[in-house]
Subunit: 200 residues, 2 copies
């Protein structure tokens, strides 16, 4: 007794999703076919639409349906500051915090030997060209403070040092509301090393 | 700053998958668009194909591309025994164990008030018609030994009792290799209650 081929194909296709193994793929396929055919149809159309319409912003590399994304097309933003983030979700969160009015560059990934993602698999060449196009004075590296994000920050540092742009990294330290008693020791140590003047 | 609409639509469409919330949907969308466009295309096509080609076996209700599935179309199998399972995956596992050569009925679900699945949402009416079509002498209820599976077995028992077919339930007890010291107490108690003659 075998599954019908179209069911097997769907189960195998669902395994392209990150974090989805054979068992979840099977559960997802049953769910879609048994309880949510409209959802399956919606998913197929959304995939088609995204594949045909989404491209990368020519300037900052984020996902965009237009040549320039909304942020890059906005000439009221500071043009001389470029913040480098890993993913569009990071950009979205910074935008929500309303702390920054410069432009961005989205790497669309991080250096991660574990996942087989090397320096050529993220947009470092495009970042170099953008950072050194003459309009940028400061590059703020805002990759994550994970092993991969730190490695990526290091690589960017090596590529852009002594090229005439100011290079900075967002700060580490205690989060808002953080208590010394409960914060992890690595963060606590960084907060002490990177202490700053109390009165500016 | 908002996501392009086609990206938002894809993220929202991925949330139809069971167990996928906003964060995983976003991660899946980025992965597909950034690292596996071929996979995304494959998934869209597999969804389309499954939606157009898959239907339910007229007799046993499992997924099939043909009117009768392979098992039901096989006239070398015992025609007088019908095993009721929840899902095609259960059927597949029983087939792999090679312990059964009768026919099946696949409910495509279980009664589950928690998930809002009532007696009308699984194929109980179709099961009644099949079990009482005159060819079946024994109905073996092989739903899971979970709360939902047991409730479903109870409902089937109520529907089919005194209808002239023999009704049985697969056995509970210790698994092969099970040790009394480590097995859970509920299973142990059932194994004692349902003890059987040592020599048949």
């Amino acid at each position: 007794m075998k599954n019908p081929p179209s069911l097997d194909q769907l189960i195998s296709a669902l395994k392209v999703l990150p974090g989805v193994g054979p068992k979840s793929a099977q559960r997802m396929a049953y769910h879609l076919l048994q309880r949510d055919k409209a959802g399956a149809e919606k998913l197929a159309r959304a995939l088609d639409r995204a594949l045909t319409q989404l491209t990368h912003c020519e300037r900052c590399n984020t996902f965009s349906e237009t040549t320039l994304c909304n942020v890059c097309a906005d000439d009221k933003r500071r043009q001389d500051t470029l913040m480098v983030v890993e993913m569009p979700a990071d950009l979205a969160n910074i935008e929500q915090s309303q702390c920054y009015d410069g432009l961005y560059f989205v790497l669309m990934g991080r250096v991660s030997p574990m996942e087989g993602i090397g320096t050529n698999d993220i947009a470092l060449a495009k970042l170099m060209a953008r950072a050194l196009d003459g309009t940028v004075e400061e590059v703020i590296v805002a990759t994550n403070f994970t092993a991969e994000g730190e490695a990526t920050a290091h690589v960017i540092g090596e590529l852009l040092k002594d090229k005439g742009v100011k290079l900075t990294r967002i700060a580490r330290g205690l989060p808002v509301g953080g208590e010394l008693e409960y914060v992890d020791l690595g963060t606590l140590a960084q907060a002490v090393y990177e202490r700053r003047g109390l009165t500016r």
